[in-house]
């Protein structure tokens, strides 16, 4: 069909209509069949369940993510479309839902504060934390790789690195989970989290103030940008809260995905053990393979034609990062977690001006954990039925029982 559509000039044709609810429990639990149908439907499809456009093929998703001029974030990166719906409870993110020019200053400040060079001071301390944690885990027969490792490690190091007070750090997981749910439709997941979220709004509003932050943390580093006016005080508080919301759950699900990936391909664990320097590749390959952030919306700033299909100005488009990361047009044997692959170019962190600004933090966290595990764990074995954690945006595990075999 591809050759046919090239032969006949059909600029601005209507997209194929795809039924099915990508936010249903069934698809969130196992999205691969839906993602396959989306990719096969065409470069662009129309989702009748929500009256939005969707993209699932790598080339188109990547090109649209990079094209901030044609596909804006400022109209919200969730399903809700402020252009034709009544106002909504969630205030826009201080960076994720901005476009140039207002996006420039906060983005640059975060790039500087969270660049790889700026994080070298954390490495030794985090490695020590990982060592102690793995010590404890190896004493136990069965652990839950989610609560005992994937949650425990970032919860220990990330809020500490940011420099926020100890009290209430666990609130971040609850708040953030609902925040990511709220990018989707008003379904049962949103209903379920609303109460706990509402109770935490006041607490979250107090986070990120300069007085509340330790002077040697990342938060203080962001505040230092206000001293010469590179950032306003409102922007500093806003981006720190954005980091707290976006930086924890995502890393939790990424670490969970790594363990899951090695469970699915035990031979890859032996590869990592033989060459621990592959830890960085392992992390990015796990992000590609699992795509902890599955989807984000964009809005067409004008009538845009993507691969002959017209997307009218003001329409929302659902970008399936997870589908793009397993598009066989881009990746050989895409369902296979493979440390011999070069995963660079995956869109699990997005791409372009909104490319995950905290990825170096997440990568360093994953790297120290993987180094420690690879040094001391001979095998990771399943030890029970895992349970998925459902979220409208994130994909991860609620529990992942495993046995760590020392050696």
């Amino acid at each position: 069909m591809a050759s046919l559509s090239q032969a006949i000039p059909t600029i601005g044709r209507e997209p194929p209509v795809l039924a099915g609810d990508p936010f249903s429990e069934a698809v969130l639990t196992s999205p691969f069949e839906f993602q396959h149908a989306l990719r096969e439907a065409g470069p662009v499809a129309y989702l009748s369940s929500y009256n939005v456009y969707a993209m699932g093929r790598y080339n188109e998703v990547r090109a649209a993510l990079v094209n901030w001029q044609g596909f804006e974030s400022g109209n919200g990166v969730g399903l809700f479309n402020p252009r034709n719906e009544t106002p909504y409870r969630r205030p826009p993110s201080a960076i994720l839902e901005l476009d140039p020019p207002t996006h420039d200053a906060p983005r640059h400040a975060l790039e500087q504060a969270l660049g790889p060079r700026m994080l070298t001071g954390f490495r030794d301390g985090w490695a020590r934390t990982a060592e102690i944690m793995v010590d404890q885990l190896l004493k136990r027969e069965v652990i839950d790789a989610v609560s005992d490792l994937a949650e425990a490690f970032p919860l220990k190091v990330f809020p500490e690195a940011m420099g926020i007070p100890e009290e209430g750090r666990e609130n971040l997981l609850v708040y953030s989970d609902h925040n990511f749910n709220s990018f989707g439709p008003n379904n049962a997941l949103v209903e379920k989290g609303r109460k706990a979220f509402t109770d935490l709004v006041g607490w979250m509003g107090k986070q990120g103030s300069r007085e509340s932050l330790r002077p040697d943390g990342l938060g203080a580093r962001i505040w230092a940008k206000t001293d010469e006016g590179d950032l306003t005080a409102a922007q500093a508080g806003g981006v720190i809260r954005s980091l707290l919301i976006a930086g924890l759950d995502t890393t939790v699900h990424a670490l969970g995905a790594i363990i899951d990936a090695f469970l699915s391909s035990p031979e890859q664990w032996q590869l990592l053990r033989a060459e621990p320097t592959r830890a960085r590749v392992a992390f990015d390959e796990a992000i590609r393979w699992a795509s902890p952030v599955q989807t984000f919306f964009r809005t067409a700033t004008r009538d845009v034609v993507v691969a002959d299909t017209k997307i009218p100005e003001g329409e929302k488009i659902l970008m399936f990062l997870g589908a793009a990361n397993r598009d066989p047009r881009r990746w050989d044997n895409p369902d296979h977690f493979d440390l011999n692959r070069d995963p660079s170019g995956h869109v699990g962190f997005g791409m372009g001006i909104h490319h995950c600004v905290g990825q170096h933090v997440a990568r360093l966290e994953a790297e120290v954990v993987l180094h420690e595990l690879a040094r001391r764990v001979a095998r990771i074995e399943p030890a029970g039925e895992p349970k998925p954690h459902l979220n409208n945006t994130l994909r991860g595990w609620k529990t992942l029982p495993v046995r760590l075999i020392a050696g």
Partner: protein, 315 residues
């Protein structure tokens, strides 16, 4: 794009004022160009072997082309002369960047001060300030109106853009403009050394970070802090190099075989920025602000040296 280098094709070339030509550059296969923000510049590696920096002065909402404007300099070392006399529509040039040492930061008011061709980085800033509805004023001085580019692009802004030629109106009154600024204002200046130096003096009473400037030519520094050799330790390999008085850190590093990308070799473009882990650099670049200098977090080894016996750098 490999290693930050790629080719651009000259799509349009047009004389926009006396001695100033504007180039529109595109990716040869019609692909998107890398994103940029106002204040950014690109390096052009001209086929006569020179590398020169030019501010982007076009529209970032057009991802398919860059615009630069080039003044034919009287004492051209060959860069501007090559572009004016030899470079033609259809030719390919190698590009580095874009890089930005002159970012537009938030403000309640902007004062833009341009001297001659210094208008180029300020144009996109002005358009963006207008878009964000932040009040601004521009003082744009030049020798005579016919040699001042982009006046037509500024006219629609009316009185906000003060365009003054020295021939008829004399010099710009920078002191008056600065003294009238409201709180929370930022001053952006690009122009000849005399103008930037004068404005630095005038703005010294403003809060730190109020003045942001970009120079055409490297700042004149007094002699190096030390006249004796010093050691530079490359932290990643543990190598220790001895840098002699006449030698640059960049050359010593490259001679030792460590990878370090450089471009202008004048402390202007920022390409070779390197983190300083220990020791005190003798900053001799034209990029860092005073506060950044004091922080000693990074330096530019093409021109900057060491003030301490040993400098440990992240290479």
């Amino acid at each position: 794009m490999i290693g930050g280098r790629s080719a651009l094709r000259v799509e349009e070339k047009e004389l926009v004022a006396e001695g100033i030509c504007k180039l529109r550059l595109v990716e040869p296969r019609g692909m998107r160009l890398p994103d940029w923000a106002p204040g950014a510049h690109i390096d052009l590696n001209l086929s006569n072997g020179l590398t020169r920096q030019y501010s982007l002065c076009g529209n970032r909402w057009d991802a398919m082309s860059y615009e630069i404007a080039v003044l034919l300099e009287q004492n051209s070392r060959g860069g501007s002369e090559f572009i004016h006399r030899q470079l033609q529509v259809g030719d390919l040039v190698q590009m580095g960047g874009p890089r930005n040492n002159f970012r537009l930061v938030p403000a309640d008011h902007y004062l833009f001060v341009a001297g001659g061709i210094g208008i180029t980085p300020l144009l996109p800033m002005i358009e963006q300030a207008a878009m964000m509805e932040v009040p601004w004023t521009l003082l744009y001085g030049g020798r005579r109106l016919s040699s001042m580019a982009f006046i037509d692009r500024l006219r629609p802004h009316g009185d906000r853009a003060v365009i003054a030629s020295r021939e008829t109106q004399g010099r710009l009154d920078l002191a008056a403009a600065v003294s009238n600024l409201p709180r929370g204002a930022k001053v952006y200046c690009c122009g000849p050394t005399s103008m930037v130096d004068a404005l630095e003096q005038i703005c010294s009473v403003l809060p730190p970070g109020s003045l942001r400037r970009e120079r055409f030519s490297a700042k004149i520094h007094p002699g190096p802090v030390r006249s004796t050799a010093y050691e530079v330790e490359l932290a990643r390999s543990g190598k220790v190099l001895t840098v002699k008085p006449g030698e640059s850190v960049l050359d010593a590093v490259l001679k030792a075989g460590a990878p370090l990308l450089a471009s202008c070799r004048e402390g202007l473009c920022g390409t070779c920025e390197t983190a300083v882990l220990c020791g005190v650099p003798d900053h001799r670049d034209s990029i860092l602000s005073d506060a950044e200098r004091e922080r000693n977090a990074s330096f530019y080894p093409c021109v900057s040296r060491s003030a301490s016996d040993r400098l440990v750098i992240d290479l």
